[in-house]
Every structure is written in C-alpha cells, then in structure tokens.
C-alpha cells in the first residue's frame, strides 16, 4: 500500500487500506512524542499553514504540534488577522498562500465542501481540519486509533455516536471510517438532529439512548453545539441531559469495558456528566494525545506523495 494523494479531504473517498495505512503510520509516530527530544526531521524545510476560518484551539494546536514534531515550519492564519475580512475569496487566499511557496494548507472552514474546493484550485497539499457539517477526517482517524489501541481490531465492534448528528462533521467522518473498517455504528439523537436518509450511510438509527448503549463497545459523545441552534431544533440543556446525557447510571447499565470518547471541548452536565468524563471508562485525553500522531501521519503522507509528484526523491 502506497499513499498517493496530495490531499486529505475526507474519509468518504478513502479505501479501507488507505485508512489502515494512516493508522499504522500514526502508530509509528506515537513514539516521537515519548522521547526526550520530541522531533524528527521528516518535514524539515516544509511549511505548513493553518488557515482557520472558524475559532478552534485544540485542532489548530494539535496540527501545529504535529507539524513541528516533524520539523516543519508552521504559520497560523486566523480570519481575524487575515485579509478574509476584506472580502478575499477562499480561492484567492489559497492562491496567495501557494505563491508564498508553502507546502501544506490545513484548512478549517464553516462551509461544507470548502476544503474540496480549495484542493481543486491549488497544487500544494490541502488537509481538511473540518468543513461545515461535512467531514473532520483527522478527528475520526484519532478516534479510530484510540479504538484500535483498546480493542485491537474494529471489525465487529459496536460504536454508538450520540448527539447532534445532523450538524456534525465528526459524526460523518466517523461513520465513513468506522463502517469501512467493519465496525457497526449506531447513531442516537433527538429526531430533529438526525439527518435525512442517514441509514443509507450504513448506520443504525435510534432515538433511545439506552438502546444505543446496550451493546456498545464504545460511545462517541458529540458536543452539543447550542451556539448553532436554528429553527428551534435543539432541546433545552436540561432536557437533553435527561434524555441523552451520558451519566454514570447509563454507563453502569452498558458493557463493563465500554469506552467513552468525546471530540471536545466538553459541555459538562449537558452531553456528559463530569463523573463519566473523568471516570475509568473515559479515553478523552488519550484521544487528544493520539491526535498528534494521527496528524503527523497525515502531514507526512501527503507531503511524501507531493514530493514524489514533484520528482523530489530521497
């Protein structure tokens, strides 16, 4: 298996083998972060640009650390400090970043498809750090790595994804990745937060949290993004916690070794109780750690593919 893509835009377009290659590469990079000197020269002389059109701390920092541990130079462009406010289009911004002879654009954007569009218009690599409700591939990949570390294989694993599925790029990327690797996925949310025809993506749908947790080996708890509320689709915090919150009582009724995941940042007492978030079943901080290795793997693979295209060989 050789990685040939210059971009990582989503998991929908990847094969099972490509996903496994990223995970295997990530596993080999985990060691770097455990060393006294946490740096390898794999991306020395490369420049990665974090182009973020949405506020984000953890994803941006995770990508920055990943790039730096590979010895790449990192530039951060936030909407507040760029010419985006002056009305420059995404394509023009991308063209300018490319003209600065950089190598990788890591883009976070509020519009679905933004990373796809950008990748079509630039020759340098584009890594999707989350586009609208569409995909957040590195989040799903770090979730997969976390699951694999715990269970060895994803084949036959039952994974429940709970929360606002309709507006979640994390949910979509997880569904693609998990189903390709043979896991059984159940999505659980109030009816208005389940998108139309999602079962055609190969998932089981339920509105009953106990049903979702019954056979689950892992539950991925999505952040309730109340700031996105439109058309009154969201229940109140209290109502949501009562009906869908992941609590100690609910975890006690689930499989003994169930793991609890969350992409962060947490709304304690809304989608998850503090006891569960900080409890023995929680792998939330391992996810954060795995995020670095996964992003190192992605940056390394797209960069290597790009070098091959450009005829640069070792």
């Amino acid at each position: 298996m050789v990685w040939t893509r210059k971009d990582l835009l989503g998991l929908e377009e990847l094969t099972k083998e490509e996903i496994e290659l990223i995970i295997a590469t990530a596993e080999s990079f985990k060691d770097v972060s455990r060393r006294a000197i946490k740096k390898v020269p794999a991306l020395r002389g490369k420049t990665a640009v974090n182009l973020f059109y949405e506020p984000s701390t953890r994803t941006r920092v995770s990508f920055e650390i990943a790039a730096k541990r590979l010895s790449a130079d990192v530039i951060n462009i936030m909407t507040e400090t760029s010419s985006v406010k002056k009305g420059e289009t995404l394509i023009d911004t991308g063209a300018n970043i490319q003209a600065l002879k950089t190598d990788i654009i890591i883009v976070r954007h509020n519009c679905s498809g933004a990373a796809v569009m950008l990748a079509r218009h630039v020759d340098i690599s584009v890594v999707n750090a989350g586009d609208g409700w569409h995909e957040h591939p590195t989040q799903a990949l770090l979730d997969i790595l976390t699951l694999k570390e715990r269970f060895g294989s994803l084949s036959g694993l039952n994974v429940a994804i709970v929360g606002d599925i309709a507006h979640s790029r994390v949910a979509r990327s997880n569904i693609w990745g998990l189903t390709k690797l043979g896991a059984r996925v159940t999505v659980c949310a109030p009816e208005l937060l389940i998108p139309v025809a999602i079962e055609q993506m190969g998932v089981h749908v339920t509105h009953d949290i106990d049903d979702a947790l019954k056979d689950a080996d892992a539950v991925n708890v999505l952040r309730m993004q109340f700031e996105r509320d439109e058309k009154g689709a969201f229940p109140s915090h209290i109502e949501y916690f009562k009906n869908f919150g992941i609590t100690t009582d609910r975890i006690k009724k689930a499989k003994k070794n169930i793991i609890v995941m969350h992409p962060g940042p947490l709304n304690r007492g809304v989608e998850i109780s503090s006891e569960v978030a900080d409890g023995d079943n929680s792998v939330i901080l391992q996810q954060v750690t795995n995020g670095i290795a996964v992003r190192m793997a992605v940056l390394f693979l797209v960069s290597q593919a790009q070098d091959k295209r450009n005829g640069y060989t070792d």
Binding site: S112, G113, A114, V116, M117, H134, R172, A197, I198
Partner: protein, 424 residues
C-alpha cells in the same frame, strides 16, 4: 430570390410532417413546403441527411439585461440562443430593475430592438419589484406587448394576491407562469433533501417545497378559472399533481428543463457549483418520473431556464454560490441525447415540446413551418457528437452543468425571420 432548403428531413409536428421535403423561404416567411420543389434561386442549402425543424421557442430565459450585463446581455444571450437553435426567447423579468412597469418594459423593448439577434418576447413581473406585496399594472403592461406575467425566482406567497393576478391575467388574456416554491420549506437549502445533502453536509431542499406550492398554484388557477403554467418542475410528485389537475380540467401546463431529465443529485457530490440549480437536481426516481411525464404528455414544454452567472458568483463556497446553469446552447443536444437517443420521445414529440407547444401556450404565431409563417427554421445534424467546453459558449457566462459532457446533435444553421442568423 429567396432561399431553398433542399432534401432535409422535415419535422413539423404542427402540420404532421415527418418526411423528406423542401422548404422555400421568401421575404422572411415560409413560401412553400413540398417534395422536390422547383424554384428559381441560387440560394440553396443542401440539407441532405439533416433534420429541418421550426426554431426553438424557449419560454424560460434569463437575459439579465438591464442591470446585470456582466452576466449576460440581450446581444450575447440571443447569440447563444441562435447557436443552440433557439429563435424565440421569453425573457424573465427578474432583472435589475425588475420588468414591473411600463417604463421598464419600454426600456427592455428598446434594448431588444437595438441589439437582439433572435426574437425576444417579454414576461413582466406579477408584483412590483417581485416583492410579493403589490400587483403590477397588469392591464397596462399587456398593452405594451408582454406575453406573460411571473415573479420567476420567487413565488407569490400571498394566496389572495396571486388569485387576483390570475383573474386580471385571464381578463387580459395573459399567461401566468408560476415559480412554485414555498420558501418556508426550502429556506436555506442548496441541494435536494436526502442522502446526497446528508453526505455533503448541506441543507436540503425538500420536494414538498415544490409540489405543495404547485398544488396551491393549481388550486388558485382553478378558483379563478384561469390558465397557469408551472415552470421548471423537477420531481415525481409534481408530475402526478399536474396529471391529476389536467384530468380535472384545470387549464394547467408545465415545463421542465434539460437538467431535470439529464442529471441526478449525485452530480453535486463533488461540490461543483454548476450543479447548484433551483429547484435542485433530484433523485434517479424523479428523473425517471420527469421522463415519464414528458413521454405521457403531462409535461408540455422543455425550456432552458438559462441562468447565466459570473465566475465570481460560482467559484465560491457551494452554499454561497448562485443557483443556475446556462442552457441555451445545450438544451437541444441534451434533449436529443437523453430523450430521443434513449427512446423516451420520438422526434416529433421532442420538437413539439420545444416549439409549437410553448408557442401555443404563449399565444405566439411561432413554432411551426406552415405556409406564411415566420421563417424561423433550424437545420440539425442529429448524429454529430460534440463536447461541451467553456470556450465553445457564445453566452457571456460559462456556468454550465453539462461542461465536459459529450452530446449528440449539432445545430448547423439557424434561420431567424428568413435570414441565416447562425451557421456552424
């Protein structure tokens, strides 16, 4: 003198001609149609192996002038029309300003007189500024020569207002064209509601937003005993509702556009904004239903809904991009490729939906090859394959949903009012 078109296979559904005959054009009109015509002229077009048919009457065209000459003008739009075999266009009134008063109609008429390369007829707005608040002076507009009223791009939300418009239109023998969309249901949507919208992470436009509004529009037309024409239908329920209404005796006619029988929602999956149209591209089942509706005659008309936009409005994030595809230069070839070559429609049926049907609905003396008719004639090589590319367009805009596709059927001559207005 005059022009003789020799040996072409004439398809003229209005006169039930589907046969190899000659046509003689004299003084901008059709003088004679017969086999082996013997006339004294040096001006002969050999149409052997070609199809000869009436010029297309396209009753849904956005020429964008006045106001958005950066997208299209009467000059560029009608040049594109001729290349596509369209000799008559009905210009939609959603210009800037909207065609909603006598002065604006006269302004457009003067532009047409000065610059149009093909016949352009005018549809005026139902409400002032297309705001859905206050009716235009429909009777006065009729005197200026408009053929129809429509708030195209929007639906008149207020039942009472549309009912009144239908009654006034009836008194004035004007056609009401409805863009049937309930914005309360479609609001914010950019692709068809369903698995594609879900996969793309985009808001969906439900089929209900279209067909529930068609139901209402038909009901109001029935109450007013007025004629109503439903623009660009895209889904199976709309076909069923129109079929029922026709059975019920309502004077309803309907049109669809090439993208609704040639493309499915999956085309949008790569976030190609040329696939962003309103109503949206629908499912395979809907495409089949539209074809069935064309075949059964429920859908009377194929119209382009030619909707030019600049690259600035299309080369942006999918959800922010403008709705619409240009279509004047591809509508005939897409129809031939997707309907005739696949056996959905025979040639006479296709030609009917492109010519005599829209002409009759608009009350226009066009769309046939009768003796004495205006000589609007196209000569088509039905088997010529060609690829749609950006540099092939005469339209000012390049936003075409069919870019890159190979199509069958090429217009070789377009004769408009007796003169060769386009030649391949």
């Amino acid at each position: 003198m005059g022009t003789l078109i020799k040996n072409g296979h004439i398809i003229d559904p209005a006169n039930k001609i589907d046969d190899i005959q000659d046509i003689f054009i004299e003084k901008s009109r059709i003088a004679r149609v017969a086999k082996n015509l013997k006339v004294e002229t040096d001006d002969i077009i050999d149409a052997t192996g070609k199809l000869v048919m009436p010029g297309i009457v396209d009753m849904h065209v956005h020429l964008r002038e006045p106001g958005r000459e950066d997208k299209e003008t009467v000059l560029t739009g009608t040049s594109a029309a001729l290349k596509g075999g369209v000799t008559s266009c009905l210009a939609m009134p959603n210009t800037q300003p909207a065609v909603d008063c006598v002065e604006n109609v006269r302004l457009l008429v003067s532009i047409i007189k000065k610059t149009a390369k093909a016949n352009v007829f005018i549809a005026a707005a139902i409400t002032k500024g297309r705001q859905g608040q206050e009716l235009t002076d429909i009777a006065r507009l009729k005197q200026e020569g408009i053929l129809a009223i429509t708030d195209d791009g929007s639906s008149v939300d207020c039942d009472e207002l549309l009912l009144e418009a239908l009654k006034i239109a009836k008194e004035n023998q004007l056609l009401v064209i409805c863009h049937s969309e309930d914005r309360m249901l479609s609001r914010g949507g950019v692709v068809n509601q369903g698995i594609v919208a879900t996969r793309m992470g985009l808001r969906g436009i439900s089929k209900e937003s279209e067909y529930k509004r068609i139901q209402r529009d038909i009901q109001l037309a029935k109450m007013a005993s007025a004629r109503v024409h439903i623009a660009h239908i895209s889904c199976s329920e709309s076909v069923e509702i129109i079929a029922e209404a026709k059975k019920d005796g309502v004077a309803v006619t309907a049109e669809t556009s090439p993208h609704y029988f040639a493309l499915t929602e999956e085309q949008a999956l790569g976030y190609d904004t040329n696939m962003k149209v309103n109503p949206p591209l629908r499912s395979k089942g809907d495409v089949e239903a539209i074809k069935q509706g064309l075949n059964s005659g429920i859908i009377d008309v194929i119209a382009s809904d030619h909707a030019p936009h600049t690259e600035n409005e299309k080369d942006i994030e999918f959800e922010h991009a403008a709705f619409g595809t240009i279509c004047l230069e591809t509508e005939l070839a897409v129809s031939i490729t997707e309907l005739v070559k696949t056996g959905v429609l025979g040639w006479p049926d296709l030609v009917r939906k492109l010519t005599i049907n829209p002409a009759s609905i608009l009350g226009l003396k066009k769309g046939d090859l009768s003796i004495g008719s205006d000589a609007d004639i196209i000569i088509v090589n039905p088997n010529q394959e060609w690829a749609v590319s950006k540099d092939s367009f005469l339209s000012k805009s390049k936003n075409c949903a069919f870019l890159g596709r190979k199509l069958n059927g090429l217009v070789e001559y377009t004769i408009c009012n007796g003169t060769i207005a386009y030649k391949k």
